[in-house]
Symmetry: C2
Subunit: 229 residues, 2 copies
């Protein structure tokens, strides 16, 4: 399929500190699968950009008194004074039809560098609140998002009743609390369990599975949004 | 109650960028309640220390090749080459009988600065893995941990079937994935819902409730550990 100005846009936000990691290979594989499916692909590599995950007073215009982070985000949106890097990332987020968060699962959640991307870029007034609501009334409503990640543990350890607990239960805070909250319909995650214990041949097969799963998600993301739930 | 060298130790890890916030008041209130209950209290203020939440290659001794974060953590523990700040925080963590994570709930999870404290200080080989196992065999087994936090939303929005979803479901990734994983028995969280919308009188009453709840938790944390589950 050829790409054009009318092609859908996918933003992959990548968060692994090693460019030769399996997680980084998953990002490259997903990017190619999305291009093959007709997307224009924008890859944001948080470690390569040395992204600072800590939301601090310093990124806002000087203010008197008490620092209320989300109120300052909304004020900065309204006054056009968002931090230039945050603004650039927000613009890339708003331009994308499909958001892919690509990372290694650290402590059953996002690596801090990626959690801090959510803290700083999912700005109040810019993606929810202010002129927007939340959930189906937030800025990303009508768009899709998905997680693409690796684990240390094996898949059976993430089954209901498994050693750790159910993967769906671990992902709830991201799927519901971050992605659905800002309006996304969440697609099924694409997960590679335990690539560190795989042979080279198994890793190649796993990347092939990632490519196929992302291609399916890419097609699903172009279908009309189902009725809101 | 008087404190002595035999007194139990509580470590409060605090993560709010504004020292005059309600979250910061909760930390101060909890610290006093714990002192009154006979604890020696150690407060680690991550924003005040300008804690860097991003786990990077730069904190480890130079290595050839591929950066595997947890393998490097374990190697650094074994070789005595942990980053000095990480080592100091790890020592404070291991010394504490009770861990309290005190924060505002951002995106239904820990602020990035606190997630990055877990990423960098819950080191493989130091709190789990290496000479330790996980869960009941990890380094913090026999100790207690608890969350102390504020929300933006109202309590009814966090009930099962509420607007957001069940608070227990949101906290699962922290309780199970971070705290139980390294051995802690998790005490009930202490939560103040929506302090931003309270009057000064309501906030004072809420802090009084925090003090009482932390005092109860402090007593519970001194009881013998129940049989492992």
């Amino acid at each position: 399929m050829s790409t054009s100005d009318a092609a859908p846009i996918a933003l992959i936000v990548h968060a692994h500190p090693e460019s030769r990691s399996f997680s980084s290979a998953q990002t490259a594989t997903a990017a190619q699968a999305l291009r093959d499916a007709g997307y224009r692909v924008d890859v944001l590599d948080l470690y390569a950009e040395a992204w600072d995950p800590a939301l601090t007073r310093g990124e806002f215009e000087p203010m008197d008194g008490y620092f209320k982070p989300q109120a300052e985000q909304q004020r900065a949106v309204e006054n056009g004074t968002l931090d230039a890097v945050v603004k650039a990332h927000l613009d890339r987020l708003l331009a994308a039809d499909l958001l892919v968060l690509s990372f290694p699962l650290w402590w059953f959640s996002l690596p801090a560098v990626l959690k801090g991307w959510v803290d700083r870029v999912f700005v109040m007034g810019g993606v929810f609140g202010g002129g927007y609501g939340i959930l189906g009334d937030a800025a990303l409503a009508g768009k899709r998002a998905m997680l693409l990640f690796t684990t240390g543990g094996a898949s059976e350890e993430f089954r209901p009743g498994g050693l750790y607990g159910s993967m769906d239960d671990f992902l709830f805070h991201i799927h519901r609390g971050m992605l659905e909250f800002v309006g996304y319909q969440v697609l099924d995650p694409v997960v590679t369990y335990g690539p560190a214990r795989m042979t080279d041949g198994e890793r190649a097969a796993a990347l092939h599975s990632v490519s196929e799963a992302v291609a399916l998600a890419a097609a699903e993301a172009l279908e009309p949004q189902p009725v809101a739930h």
